[in-house]
């Protein structure tokens, strides 16, 4: 199935290209990402939970940049899946200046197999559109995570598998690979929009992340 769309980012073409072509930024921008492990400048593995027909489904995929033509064209292929399901995607991105921003035209060829094929049959175009849009907006915002889950391991290093039924382990740096940097304090573990909502209720991300806060009752 082929799904296409466009998104205008409030970034200069150079800045947009810099972010989009960076696999670490791309990986961190995946929806509800639990872990990203960058193997090379063109390849990363991610565990994330995209919304599917019924709730969301944990998916593990390996993404490879298969074509990179700076500053305007990028092709990324992803292969992986979930239990009894397989997902193959190829995403072509074309960047062009649009006023003060950058228009990103995208086309995704998605093949979903297994039980997920059944679950997503009526909603796949919408799911692809939502997820590509979310990724691009997260890239635009530069926060590295459209839906990164609290505690998500977003970093570089060797492949760090996220095992089913277990919390994502810390990334293990591969020999020669740059040490993963801890997330910046102001990035926080939460989705920015979510953090903003919570902040409106008189809390902040750090407080939410502190389990002791929940024991203090109403008014926190």
């Amino acid at each position: 199935m082929r799904v296409t769309g466009t998104e205008v980012l409030a970034l200069t073409p150079d800045e947009a290209w810099k972010r989009i072509s960076d696999v670490e930024t791309l990986g961190a921008a995946l929806p509800s990402v639990q872990a990203v492990n960058v193997e090379t400048a063109d390849r990363f593995t991610a565990a994330f939970r995209p919304t599917t027909g019924l709730g969301s489904t944990p998916v593990r995929m390996t993404f490879t940049v298969t074509d990179r033509q700076a500053p305007g064209r990028l092709q990324v292929e992803g292969r992986g899946g979930a239990t009894d399901s397989a997902v193959h995607v190829r995403c072509d991105l074309a960047l062009a200046a649009n006023g003060s921003g950058t228009e990103v035209s995208w086309a995704v060829d998605a093949q979903v197999l297994g039980v997920l094929r059944s679950l997503t049959q009526r909603v796949l175009p919408a799911l692809v559109t939502d997820q590509v849009t979310d990724v691009l907006r997260a890239v635009r915002d530069g926060n590295g995570g459209a839906g990164a889950e609290p505690g998500a391991d977003v970093g570089t290093g060797g492949i760090v598998p996220v095992e089913p039924g277990s919390a994502p382990p810390a990334a293990a740096p591969a020999a020669g690979a740059p040490q993963a940097e801890p997330p910046a304090a102001d990035d926080g573990p939460l989705d920015p929009e979510h953090a903003e909502r919570i902040a409106g209720a008189g809390a902040n991300a750090d407080e939410i992340a502190d389990p002791e806060r929940f024991k203090k009752g109403p008014g926190w």
Partner: protein, 818 residues
């Protein structure tokens, strides 16, 4: 009258024939039934299967190392290990299909989405599932074949290299002289294509089993909901390289099966191998998605080039067609379906000339298997469409055309062109009753009024019929494979008088809601002259009771004949022994003894009586008082095998008595179709069943309701579609929409009672009338749409009806007249 028969005075009213309350209901309604997931064994682990997301792919590698490294994982199993430890399942098919090599897990290739490539046994269900995700399988995708007709094309990708073709079985069924009939006919009606869609039964309880391969005794204990355990033994024993006497099977309550649970033997084989490897019991409870993608589906069948010769007076001489049956990826119980449809070769009609060119193909879909009305409902639906189409095209009244071509009441026993013998019936009466039940004349008036008003809500009146051929002659297997040493059928039961005079009955059947405990208790009570409440019918199946034969189980509408026949036979043997002992004890002749209310007494002297506990005492605990010749010839533990009077069919001519009894179902329905949306509403529905003498009318009624619901679901909601990649599009109930109570109209039921001359009680097997609603709803839709559209598919949801309303056609009909 024998002494034994005379001993039991026929009560004024027998228990058989009464709507005795179901004895099963107490435990089931109070949540005290024991289903397979209720069974646990000490130290058991839980199994999760790794299933292919691809419909057709080469297995490049399977790496279980990361799963095995997890704490709590007891064992894994792959296809390669199966090859080392097993032999392929034996195949019913002759070559080429018979060359198929199937193991409990896929080897070398996966052939449908859901094909199991590996399995994990772990401490918990959740851990097993998580470990299964760690098993890495590399696939090399191959082209998928998803259409049975296309699969038969030699240019299609071949599923099984060892078979070399996708043709699982092919045969021609030629009776009478169809060429002559077509030459003689005043009209020939030609329909280019009819399609019977793929659906299933979706029992409330999915597959499941707990298996323990005890290394100490080298025996395999199987607690499962398999519905034909001795067939399972036939398949598993050679595959696992063990004797049948090393396999024990036990089931209690089964939450529906409908034929599908015959084919759980590959999964049970995997559990056995995992149990042996891990030295602990292995338990597996299928998930609903697994059930949808990988348990078993009903047969999809495409009929091409149908030709129907018709005389000017409406006599239909017969038919010719090509049939392509979709077996799916493996042959599970197939290709028996390739002959079973011919039990009802001409359905309820008197056609004399038939030619069917039948091909069964492998496709990259879930294997098919028996499913309520197995293989016959497809064929009979096609014939009902033929009759409706003939009526519409040639201007005959549908009711009168049916009645004219029905087998007539005075023609029974009626022999079909292929040698099957219809035992009894009154089809015209059944049709009259069905039409009267829906007040057909009233609906015709409303239909005319709507048409006159130009209403966009069209009314359609439909009717349809099926025959429920019960009690297979397994000799028909020789028609598909002359080398198979199968023939006849049978069932066993054991009746026992226990130490304190308790009466027990053990059956070889595997009830799944059919009320065997109740109905067997009724007939045994009549034999022994006692109340059914005094008889304990053991729940479920237990191989260790010894009450089984090769084809024991519950399937193919046969319990009322075989199971009841066995129960009565065993009870009669027990009665005979009781009478002999009582005659000795009471110093009377055997023909003076009568059994009544749990006592054996001398008919002419009520003072001379002995209770059953006394009879039991003499045999079990006081045997020295019996004369040796009597003591040596009684056991109070009486096994009987009921054997239907079958002969071996002629495999060359494909003729013979393929089944023993023929219950009939005649249904009528009224539907309303919204022209603007295609939405269908069933306004009225009636079902008339003739299953001969009814042992328990309320139980029969329940079966009729279930069958109607099943068929309505298939006609309007339930379908299993695969896309061009071989991906199942209904892997959950979210997409499948199984029939629910709210989808079923208030049913009107009636019955005709034509006792079978071939069965012990006059009863006929019943319960598989699920096909009648498919024909009936199609007939009603066709009536609403009129001659501008042709209903060519069994599955007619709103969108298909809408397309038909827009003039889109899936098939064509032509008429040639002299």
């Amino acid at each position: 009258m024998s002494a034994a028969e005379a001993a039991v005075q026929a009560p004024a009213q027998t228990w058989s024939g009464q709507s005795v309350q179901r004895v099963e209901d107490g435990r089931l309604l109070q949540g005290e039934g024991q289903f397979v997931d209720d069974v646990s064994m000490h130290r058991q682990g839980y199994v999760h299967f790794v299933r292919s997301p691809y419909a057709h792919a080469r297995i490049v590698s399977v790496d279980v190392s990361r799963a095995e490294a997890m704490e709590g994982v007891y064992a894994t199993l792959t296809g390669d290990e199966c090859v080392e430890q097993c032999d392929p399942f034996f195949q019913i098919a002759p070559e080429p299909g018979g060359k198929l090599q199937e193991y409990p897990l896929a080897v070398g290739k996966v052939r449908y989405q859901g094909d199991a490539v590996a399995a994990v046994l772990a401490e918990t269900r959740e851990l097993a599932r998580d470990a299964a995700e760690r098993i890495e399988v590399e696939y090399e995708p191959l082209p998928a074949v998803v259409d049975a007709v296309a699969a038969a094309d030699p240019r299609s990708a071949v599923l099984h290299d060892e078979v070399g073709t996708n043709q699982a079985w092919h045969g021609e069924f030629d009776f009478g002289d169809i060429d002559w009939a077509i030459e003689q006919a005043d009209h020939v009606v030609r329909i280019d294509k009819l399609h019977f869609h793929r659906f299933s039964s979706t029992p409330l309880e999915c597959f499941g089993a707990v298996v323990n391969w005890d290394r100490g005794t080298d025996s395999i204990e199987i607690r499962s909901n398999n519905q034909m355990p001795m067939f399972g033994s036939m398949m598993l024993s050679p595959t696992l390289r063990v004797g049948v006497n090393q396999l024990t099977w036990h089931s209690q309550d089964i939450g529906g099966a409908f034929g599908i649970k015959i084919v759980s033997y590959p999964q049970i084989g995997v559990l056995a191998l995992l149990s042996r490897k891990a030295r602990r019991p292995a338990k597996w409870t299928e998930t609903r998605s697994e059930h949808m993608i990988a348990s078993g589906h009903g047969n999809e069948r495409t009929f091409l080039d149908i030709e129907v010769p018709v005389m000017a007076d409406g006599t239909i001489l017969g038919f010719r067609c090509r049939a392509y049956d979709d077996a799916g990826a493996y042959l599970h119980y197939e290709p028996l379906g390739a002959v079973i449809w011919s039990q009802v070769l001409t359905s309820v009609y008197r056609f004399k000339h038939v030619h069917v060119d039948y091909t069964q193909s492998f496709t990259n879909k879930c294997p098919t298997c028996p499913n309520r009305g197995y293989s016959r409902l497809q064929h009979m639906w096609m014939l009902e469409r033929v009759v409706d189409t003939v009526a519409q095209q040639l201007g005959f009244d549908r009711v009168e055309l049916r009645k004219q071509n029905f087998v007539q009441p005075d023609e029974y026993p009626y022999e079909t062109p292929n040698g099957c013998v219809y035992d009894s019936g009154d089809l015209p009466l059944g049709l009259d009753k069905a039409l009267a039940a829906i007040d057909v004349e009233g609906w015709k008036r409303k239909q005319a009024e709507r048409r006159a008003e130009g209403s966009t809500k069209r009314i359609g009146i439909g009717m349809g019929s099926t025959l429920d051929s019960g009690t297979n002659n397994f000799g028909q297997a020789r028609i598909v494979n002359p080398e198979l040493p199968f023939s006849g059928n049978g069932e066993a039961a054991v009746a026992k008088l226990d130490l304190y005079g308790e009466v027990s009955l053990m059956l070889g059947t595997t009830p799944q809601g059919q009320s065997h405990e109740t109905t067997a208790g009724q007939v045994v009570a009549d034999v022994l002259g006692m109340d059914p409440s005094g008889i304990r019918v053991y729940a479920g199946f237990n191989k260790e009771h010894g009450a089984y034969v090769g084809f024991s189980g519950t399937y193919a509408s046969q319990f009322a004949v075989t199971g009841i026949g066995a129960a009565i036979g065993a009870a009669e043997k027990l009665r005979d022994e009781i009478i002999r002992i009582a005659a000795f004890a009471l110093q009377a002749d055997e023909d003076e003894i009568e059994l009544r209310d749990g006592m054996a007494s001398v008919r002419s002297d009520a003072e001379r009586a002995i209770p059953l506990i006394g009879i039991a005492n003499l045999v079990y605990s006081n045997i020295a008082v019996l004369p040796p010749e009597l003591a040596d010839s009684v056991s109070l533990n009486c096994r009987h095998v009921y054997r239907p009077p079958f002969e071996v069919p002629d495999h060359e001519t494909k003729t013979g008595q393929l089944t023993l009894t023929y219950a009939s179902q005649i249904h009528a329905a009224v539907v309303e179709i919204d022209e603007e949306t295609g939405q269908i509403e069933v306004l009225d529905y009636a079902a008339v069943d003739d299953c001969g003498t009814r042992i328990n009318p309320q139980v029969v009624e329940g079966q009729v309701h279930g069958a109607v619901g099943h068929g309505l679901g298939a006609a309007l909601h339930e379908a299993l579609h695969y896309d061009e990649d071989g991906q199942l599009l209904q892997s959950t109930f979210w997409d499948y929409h199984p029939i629910q109570a709210l989808d079923v109209p208030r049913l009107k039921t009636d019955h005709v009672e034509s006792p079978s001359p071939f069965s012990t009680t006059g009863a006929k097997g019943m319960g598989e009338g699920g096909g009648a609603p498919l024909a009936t709803i199609c007939s009603a839709i066709q009536d609403a749409l009129g001659p501008d559209a042709l209903v060519t598919d069994t599955h007619n949801p709103a969108e298909r009806v809408f397309r038909l309303l827009q003039g889109e056609a899936d098939g064509t009909v032509e008429v040639t007249s002299r």
